[in-house]
């Protein structure tokens, strides 16, 4: 059920990745201020936006779970958050590399943008032990949904707080009085953003398909009364 349309989606993602990388290196003009280093922008910023939106989407799925009590939505919420945490790791690493190249430091502790993203990331990193600590699957799903909604609501609040705070070194690219990105850079950026969003959707679908297959195997094992191969995962929700 979850695997439907996965192949064209994967092909589209790979094609978009190739197109975006080509545009980044062979079409986008060099930045007058930062030069070649600014190419990291096309990777780092879309990853960050998609990761943050993914956290919010996880919260929306959690609301659907609490409203309907359908475990499917809990699985969607779990996978969305899981994928956004992975994207978050990439954001932190690429951001650190950019910071080192641009500012000479791997991390700047008094920069609100960096620290706020780290706080959000660490908050979601606690989602796994929080989930793992609850044995009963029903309670686990319910508490995890409450966590996902609360944390998901914190993400836009945190984003707005950072936008209102005074930045020290991290640039504000969009919606500034100075005009933001020039046309060619904006085009490449939007292409990269679409690619990252597509990649996120594909990986979420991939993960859900794998979980669904694993759930079906467990159900089949129970129906056949076959011996279990080993301890099953207690963290990930089962998808039927």
């Amino acid at each position: 059920m979850y695997g439907k349309g996965l192949r064209p989606l994967s092909i589209a993602t790979v094609a978009m990745l190739a197109l975006s990388l080509s545009l980044v290196f062979f079409y986008a003009p060099l930045d007058a201020d930062q030069g070649f280093i600014q190419k990291i922008f096309y990777l780092h910023v879309p990853l960050a936006i998609v990761a943050l939106v993914g956290f919010v989407v996880g919260g929306v799925f959690a609301i659907a779970h609490l409203r309907t009590n359908n475990r499917k939505w809990d699985a969607y919420s779990y996978v969305s958050i899981h994928m956004s945490v992975i994207f978050g790791v990439a954001v932190l690493i690429t951001g650190s590399i950019w910071a080192k190249a641009s500012w000479g430091h791997w991390w700047v502790w008094d920069e609100p943008t960096l620290v706020s993203f780290l706080i959000v990331f660490l908050m979601y990193a606690t989602y796994y032990p929080f989930r793992y600590a609850i044995e009963d699957p029903e309670r686990q799903a319910r508490y995890a949904s409450v966590f996902a909604i609360t944390a998901g609501a914190f993400v836009p609040l945190n984003f707005m707080a950072v936008r209102m705070a005074q930045s020290l070194v991290h640039p504000r690219t969009f919606g500034t009085a100075n005009g933001g990105l020039p046309g060619e850079m904006m085009l490449v950026f939007l292409c990269c953003l679409a690619t990252m969003a597509l990649l996120w959707v594909t990986l979420v679908k991939f993960e859900l398909t794998a979980k669904s297959a694993s759930g079906q195997v467990k159900r089949l094992r129970r129906a056949l009364d076959a011996p279990a191969p080993g301890a099953a995962s207690r963290i990930a929700p089962e998808v039927s």
């Binding site: 990388l21 290196f25 062979f26 060099l30 030069g35 070649f36 280093i37 190419k39 990291i40 990777l43 780092h44 990853l47 992975i86 790791v89 990439a90 690493i93 690429t94 590399i97 950019w98 080192k100 190249a101 990649l199 990986l203 991939f206 993960e207 794998a210 297959a213 694993s214 195997v217 089949l220 094992r221 056949l224 076959a226 191969p229």
Partner: protein, 74 residues
């Protein structure tokens, strides 16, 4: 071969792979490595599911044969 190599720079503009180039390359390589690691983990998961399915199919087959044998004996 040499002629082909000489044509490459015409199609692709030169990338300034100096000090900045190393950092840009590192950022993109980290992203690709993360992606490959994730796909490898998923591939391992799918292999495990496939193995379990094979086991279950064998188990079901064995049970069916036992049932048929019991029927013949009865």
């Amino acid at each position: 071969m040499d002629a082909l190599a000489s044509l490459l720079p015409l199609g692709a503009p030169a990338l300034p792979l100096d000090e900045a180039g190393k950092y840009v390359a590192a950022a993109f390589i980290v992203f690709m490595v993360l992606l490959v690691v994730y796909v490898a983990i998923m591939a391992a998961k799918l292999q495990r599911i496939e193995r379990e399915l094979r086991e279950l199919a064998g188990f079901a087959e064995q049970r069916k044969q036992e049932e048929q044998r019991d029927e013949v004996n009865a």
